[in-house]
């Protein structure tokens, strides 16, 4: 049924192409459509194929529903689904609890140290999630958590009051880690919000808190809702926190089942079961993507962003400045400072231990000096390749798609735009499992398994939706008159694109290029699923070291990377200070 519908869609697109006459633009757009259909469709098709087979990649065999029956006839699958929904929902709630006030404070008020806070938020993205988790374990573990020990002593409690090892704990740690992404996604909406409503409220004598609750939350609600959907989709696909905090307490979520099916601790991988679990995840992704599109469209319908020029007035916080600063620095403490201090402390020790005079006597720089010995150059080279190749391919594809969608009259441009958005509905872990299956089963036609290129491909597909949303919004701001002037002057379409459009959108694209590069740097789920010895990257090295118990060594690596990131991000902030914050063009 679906196949027939898909065929019908393809036929309609082809018919439109032919009826419209095949000019150069249509052929180019058609080629782009085919390319996107292949790179997005093939991994998804692989997930479908592997879910219908029981053997190993390459073994073939008849198609069967056995995997689906074994997975969905099992009552415990539904317990896992409930866990997944609770975890993702809690994660979104925690993220918004921090992100919305933060973005309001930084975009709409005169809070001090804005530039520093922006840099620290960006640095927060670069700290691997599980390294932060160590800090949380040291604080909130029922047995050794410092906070639990203090609270128990102060209040004379017999049982530890806080416990990290439950869904709330998982959602808290994961939610905090999503805050920078949510912040940068919401920043654009808050920055471009017409301040006249706030000003009217203040003029009418309404207080700052009430204005925040009645105006600053409701007006950008479509943007917040879109971010919620985005975060929820990400929340059901991530697996680091479920593996580190959930597994010790036997709390399983869908992503952990997919990962352990494709990467079992012992025995052979069971791609069929992974595919069957992925089916429900894919379905959830598609439904959420549908809502995401609807929410974004609703947002456009009710927007109060006007075309007239205005300069948003910053709200003077007055006596609220210090509570606001305390909130920001509380967040930065749990997101950046405490994890960094824990990393720094651990990196100096021969083995991980709580602070004490005895521990202090053992500190040295040995773990730093031995980084080249136990890491080697390959992960750094591969990560550098990722950080350059992924944003470059993503943004080149995005610019081309957006140019067709925004700037041409090609009849199927809407379909192309939708196709570019589809990867947003495919959870990263599923995309990676699909590509791994493709690489293993059909290596003669897809000889990328085990190379860094397969990770480049996975990341590019994954972020093409983000890239095209960015380039769409940037390109729509450039008036057509400039291109028309170019064409009237005799310039060809490619020349107009290269000489007029690209320079005008370059700043926004560069901003997104950096953002995608950073996301690619820290991404671990897909890289780990596609990981072999030859395509190891820094994020997988860190994950493997953690799994091997090499915490001090990996902490030293983490500290070096964070310091490096602070320097690079700080420099980029200076260079791009006139463009806007990194990631702002969402």
């Amino acid at each position: 049924m679906q196949s027939a519908a898909a065929q019908g869609g393809t036929v309609r697109v082809l018919a439109r192409l032919l009826n419209g006459g095949l000019n150069g633009t249509s052929v180019f757009a058609g080629g782009l459509l085919v390319l996107l259909a292949v790179i997005v469709g093939v991994p998804v098709a692989m997930v479908a194929l592997m879910s219908l087979r029981t053997g190993f990649p390459g073994e073939g065999g008849p198609l069967t529903l056995a995997n689906f029956i074994s997975v969905y006839a099992d009552r415990s699958t539904y317990e896992v689904l409930v866990n997944t929904v609770l975890f993702a929902t809690g994660t979104v709630a925690v993220t918004l609890l921090f992100a919305v006030p933060l973005v309001w404070l930084l975009m709409r008020t005169d809070i001090p140290l804005k530039k520093t806070i922006f840099v620290l938020l960006t640095v927060g993205i670069l700290i691997p999630v599980f390294l932060r988790t160590i800090a949380w374990i040291l604080l909130l573990s029922p047995r050794i958590g410092l906070l639990n020990q203090w609270l128990s002593q102060i209040f004379g409690l017999e049982e530890p009051p806080l416990n990290l090892y439950n869904i709330t704990g998982m959602a808290f740690v994961q939610g905090v880690s999503f805050v920078p992404s949510a912040f940068f996604m919401l920043a654009a909406a808050y920055r471009s919000m017409d301040p006249s409503l706030e000003e009217a409220a203040y003029t009418s004598g309404v207080g700052k808190l009430r204005t925040f609750l009645k105006i600053n939350i409701p007006i950008p609600m479509p943007a917040i809702a879109a971010v919620m959907v985005y975060l929820f989709m990400t929340g059901i696909a991530v697996f680091e926190i479920p593996a580190i905090i959930g597994l010790p307490a036997r709390i399983l979520v869908l992503s952990s089942l997919i990962y352990t099916s494709a990467n079992p601790a012992t025995g052979l991988p069971d791609y069929g079961t992974a595919g069957a679990y992925g089916g429900v995840m894919l379905l959830a992704g598609l439904i959420l993507a549908y809502f995401y599109v609807r929410v974004v469209r609703q947002g456009k319908k009710y927007t109060v962003i006007t075309g007239r020029g205005y300069r948003p007035r910053e709200l003077a916080l007055g006596r609220w400045k210090w509570p606001a600063m305390a909130f920001v620095f509380f967040y930065l403490a749990i997101e950046v400072f405490i994890p960094f201090l824990v990393l720094l402390w651990t990196s100096l020790l021969p083995y991980m231990r709580l602070p004490s005079a005895a521990a202090l006597a053992t500190i040295s720089l040995k773990n730093y000096l031995s980084i080249p010995d136990y890491v080697g150059a390959r992960p750094f080279i591969n990560t550098a390749i990722l950080m350059i190749a992924v944003p470059t391919t993503t943004m080149v594809l995005s610019v081309l798609v957006s140019w067709v969608v925004i700037r041409t009259q090609v009849s199927f441009r809407g379909f192309l735009d939708t196709l570019a958005f589809v990867p947003h509905a495919v959870p990263g872990i599923l995309l990676a499992v699909g590509l791994a299956y493709l690489g293993l089963a059909y290596r003669s036609i897809f000889p990328l398994y085990g190379t860094v290129l397969i990770i480049v491909l996975a990341h590019t597909i994954h972020w093409i939706a983000y890239g095209t949303r960015t380039t769409n919004s940037v390109m729509i701001q450039v008036h057509r008159e400039l291109e028309e002037a170019g064409k009237v002057s005799g310039a060809s379409t490619p020349r107009v694109l290269i000489r007029i459009v690209l320079p005008l959108v370059a700043a926004g694209i560069l901003n997104s290029w950096i953002w995608v590069g950073m996301l690619s740097y820290r991404e671990v789920t897909m890289a780990l699923t596609l990981y072999t010895r030859h395509n190891v990257v820094i994020s997988t090295v860190i994950w493997q070291f953690w799994g091997s118990g090499w915490i001090p060594e990996v902490s030293a690596l983490g500290v070096v990377l964070i310091l490096f990131a602070v320097i690079v991000v700080g420099a980029l902030r200076i260079v791009l200070s006139k463009v806007g914050e990194i990631g702002a063009a969402t």
């Binding site: 021969p350 083995y351 072999t532």
Partner: protein, 345 residues
């Protein structure tokens, strides 16, 4: 005089017979060396702990011992489980394996053996101790791991140190005080010693203790921190590492049986350079190779006299997995994973 003549002839005849027998014994090895020489190169898959330097040292010692000039390409392991799966998939499509000789744990080789993906060789013919040969002449044991419960000696009082596997079922360990790594095959191996019924009952009782779960390295880290008080199973490589770094993690010595998974070296079916692979597998059991393996990997074979593993195993009840137990261990590993909560029930 006649007697003397007879004696001399007898002695000469005896020497000639012994010499010819000796030559006959060396002949298969000579043939293997000659065949390996023609291949000139081979792909060697081994744990990443060996490191490229360790592989280079092994290659140099190998070439010296057999007067060869073979080029060894070292392929460090990423995920052994996935790489074994990759070999199975490649074999299904008829593509030759990427590696000639694979050194992986016996769990990995058992999967290959069940799929008949070894290229067997009569290793005993070239002088290898039959004890080292497994999986229908498909593999040679290269090194042993030793598995026991482990604890933090600075945190756990001596009177609480477990003295037997059953001690871990004491209610005092309930509620996350025990830690269990993903290597549930350790417990499945215990079941081969105790019998399936007792083994399964034991694992169910352990599950009721609600141990903290995670990868073995994570359990080790939590043990160091004091988050878990006793790791139900811990490999000796972590104990060696702890000793080197001064971390207070030790095995609960005295508990028996000591579980001993092994690293096997096996040449893969349709390997492009099988003779070098077989010869190198033989070489890995020599004292020279064992010394290099210990230097980099930290483990040696309990079946090669004089090695640290050999000395450790003396006088202890050590549990090795026999070939006919592979299927049972494979099945119970998955079942115990479910019972303990690593995967859904």
């Amino acid at each position: 005089m006649k007697r003397l003549k007879f004696l001399v002839i007898t002695v000469i005849t005896f020497i000639a017979v012994v010499a010819s027998v000796g030559h006959a014994a060396n002949a298969p090895l000579d043939e293997l060396i000659a065949a390996a020489k023609k291949e000139g190169v081979f792909e060697f898959y081994a744990p990443s702990t060996l490191t490229p330097q360790g592989a280079e040292e092994l290659a140099a010692a190998f070439n010296k011992k057999y007067s060869l000039n073979i080029k060894l390409n070292y392929n460090p392991s990423g995920s052994m489980t996935r790489d074994v799966g990759k070999i199975v998939g490649m074999a299904a499509t008829g593509v030759p394996p990427e590696w000639d000789l694979m050194v992986v744990h016996d769990g990995g080789h058992s999967s290959l053996w069940l799929k008949k993906l070894h290229k067997p060789f009569d290793y005993t013919k070239v002088g290898v101790d039959p004890q080292l040969v497994g999986y229908d002449n498909g593999t040679i044991i290269l090194a042993n791991q030793f598995i026991l419960p482990a604890y933090n000696k600075k945190i756990l009082p001596p009177q609480d140190v477990p003295k037997s596997w059953e001690d871990l079922l004491d209610p005092k360990w309930k509620g996350g005080k025990l830690g269990m790594g993903t290597a549930t095959h350790h417990l499945a191996r215990l079941a081969t010693f105790w019998g399936e019924e007792k083994g399964t009952k034991y694992v169910k009782a352990l599950a009721k203790q609600q141990p903290s779960l995670g990868r073995l390295g994570e359990i080790y880290s939590r043990l160091v921190l004091g988050e878990v008080l006793v790791a139900i199973t811990m490999t000796d490589s972590y104990i060696h590492s702890a000793k080197r770094k001064g971390a207070p993690i030790v095995h609960a010595e005295g508990i028996e049986p000591v579980i001993s998974p092994v690293y096997n070296a096996g040449v893969l079916k349709n390997a492009l350079h099988p003779n070098v692979g077989h010869l190198f597998a033989v070489f890995l059991t020599t004292p020279a190779a064992q010394e290099i393996w210990e230097k980099y990997g930290g483990q040696t074979s309990a079946f090669v006299s004089g090695t640290p593993a050999y000395k450790y195993a003396q006088g202890k009840k050590v549990l090795y997995m026999a070939q006919d137990q592979v299927k049972m261990v494979d099945r119970l590993t998955k079942e115990y994973g479910k019972i303990l909560g690593f995967t859904k029930k």
